[in-house]
């Protein structure tokens, strides 16, 4: 394991899945023997039909789920060996965007983003300065005091992205971020994610939107029935 850890770290691989399987029951295998590396500043799309195992893969990385077999590394840390506070610290290095936005409904846009900063132990001065800045970046400054219920789907997703990037994480994980959006909003959200990647943040995107993948021209990992079936450096949506 020490050798493996050194391998990950020395080769500056950010994320490493080592023969990971997730088996709920004999009939229900979510992931099977997944080996995968993701490097810093990469933009990786994971594609596949519903039930292919994309979300399970992401949940493994966030320590939401534990693998039945295999190991998951984030830099030099084996994710599923981390304890309470260490998991919290890991999650602070990862910004997450979900298909269903998952904003806190009783907090305003400002408070939703401030919450992530507060959780990371940032000062009030930093919060006052950074929140408007990040909202400007995702172009939703006008809605700073609105509640999530008062926003459209596209606006909610922008706020979710703002929340994910505000602590300047090493990596952004976007789990089907455009699943609930119309084509215009989809395009804009993908442009924002590209911009974030250009600024040096690793982006892992799961989607089953062919148009999005084809327009990106970045690395594509295709999944089927819990297995990786293709891993193309500059791929397109092929299943």
């Amino acid at each position: 394991m020490v050798i493996l850890k050194n391998f990950c770290y020395n080769n500056r691989e950010m994320i490493y899945f080592d023969k990971v399987s997730k088996i709920y029951s004999d009939d229900c295998v979510a992931l099977e023997d997944i080996t995968l590396t993701i490097g810093p500043k990469e933009f990786v799309s994971i594609v596949g039909h519903s039930g292919a195992g994309k979300t399970t893969l992401i949940k493994m990385l966030l320590a939401e789920e534990s693998p039945t077999k295999g190991k998951v590394f984030y830099e030099s840390d084996e994710v599923h060996k981390l304890k309470g506070k260490e998991i919290t610290n890991l999650r602070r290095k990862i910004g997450t965007v979900f298909q269903d936005f998952r904003l806190l409904p009783n907090k305003t846009v400002f408070e939703n983003i401030a919450f992530a900063m507060e959780a990371a132990g940032r000062t009030d001065e930093e919060i006052e300065a950074d929140v408007p800045h990040v909202l400007e970046l995702v172009d939703i400054s006008k809605k700073i005091y609105s509640f999530p219920g008062e926003l459209s789907g596209g606006e909610k997703q922008r706020v979710a992205i703002a929340r994910a990037i505000v602590n300047q994480p090493d990596i952004i994980i976007a789990d089907e971020p455009t699943g609930n959006l119309d084509p215009a909003n989809t395009f804009e959200i993908i442009q924002i994610l590209k911009k974030i990647n250009d600024l040096g943040t690793t982006v892992v995107l799961t989607t089953h939107n062919r148009g999005v993948i084809d327009s990106l021209g970045k690395r594509v990992i295709s999944m089927q029935n819990g297995r990786i079936v293709r891993d193309d450096k500059s791929g397109s949506y092929v299943l």
């Binding site: 806190l104 919450f115 507060e118 959780a119 990371a120």
Partner: protein, 307 residues
């Protein structure tokens, strides 16, 4: 940073309390009912205690002395009775006082008074009226008196101890007061447990609604304590607001029925009782409210933190 965090937790708790209007209202109503029951139990126990005391106070035993017993002997016996731990008070009634009392009691009955006048001497003897702290202790006291008197064989001064005539009534009374106390205690415990369970479940449901929110908070990197804090603060607020309302409602209620209770319970003014014991009642109600809110919230959130 610690102070900033505490400040943020309190601010978030207050905001949640205010913004989750409907959820807060339902939690408040249930907690109000729970605290109302607890406060009612305090008053019930006071009424019960007062009523039982009233009944107990009506019971005493009298020791009648022989006519040749000197006042000195009687007073020395009074002193030795007073030294018994179970005795609450001893009153000496001299034969002259007994006569005055008799005349007063029968002042409208000329036949009896006339009969008394026929006698040359005062036929009434001196007596000691003894009140015990508990009705069950009368038997022991009566035994003590008989033992002491029989040890002075040649100089027996006790004519009669009326405990033996009243034994059946006193025993029954002891049983009734003990049973009432026991039943009262179990009823109080039952109501207390029911109200705690209902409050706990309501707060658990209120937090159940927020379970997705809790998981999101964890996923954006909030520590368990930082997530729990605002919920506990909201729980404490439910407690404080409901406790204040209960105390105010009881202030009005006791003021309203104060005079009525004075007549009904022969002297127990519930308003007066409330004012005199306000400190204690305040601590019990506020303490219960805050503890119920905080503990229920703490336990309920803990369940959803395992993300």
């Amino acid at each position: 940073m610690f102070i900033t965090k505490v400040k943020r937790v309190f601010r978030a708790g207050l905001t949640n309390f205010w913004r989750n209007g409907f959820v807060s209202l339902s939690s408040l109503v249930v907690m109000f009912i729970a605290l109302f029951i607890i406060c009612s139990l305090i008053f019930m126990s006071a009424i019960l205690k007062f009523s039982l005391q009233e009944i107990k106070d009506k019971v005493d035993i009298n020791v009648y002395f022989t006519t040749n017993a000197s006042e000195m002997d009687i007073l020395s016996m009074k002193k030795s009775i007073e030294s018994i731990g179970e005795v609450s008070s001893v009153t000496y009634i001299s034969s002259d006082q007994a006569l005055v009392n008799f005349n007063e009691r029968h002042k409208d009955d000329s036949l009896i008074l006339q009969a008394l006048d026929e006698l040359d001497t005062n036929p009434l003897t001196a007596s000691l009226s003894i009140k015990a702290k508990e009705p069950s202790q009368y038997e022991g006291i009566a035994k003590f008196l008989t033992d002491q008197d029989s040890s002075a064989v040649n100089n027996s001064i006790i004519e009669k101890v009326n405990y033996y005539q009243n034994k059946v009534v006193i025993d029954r009374l002891t049983k009734i007061t003990d049973a009432t106390n026991n039943v009262g205690l179990w009823v109080a415990i039952l109501f207390l447990v029911i109200s705690i369970i209902i409050t706990f479940n309501t707060i658990r449901l209120a937090i159940f609604i927020s379970r997705d929110e809790i998981s999101v908070m964890r996923l954006v990197g909030a520590s368990g304590r930082y997530v729990k804090g605002p919920f506990v603060v909201s729980g404490i607020l439910y407690g404080i607001v409901s406790a204040t309302l209960v105390l105010l409602v009881f202030l009005g209620l006791t003021y309203w029925i104060g005079n009525l209770s004075k007549t009904f319970f022969v002297g127990l003014d519930l308003f007066d009782f409330y004012l005199k014991n306000f400190g204690q009642i305040f601590i019990i109600i506020f303490g219960s409210g805050i503890a119920l809110g905080a503990i229920s919230s703490y336990l309920a959130v803990r369940k959803y933190l395992r993300v």
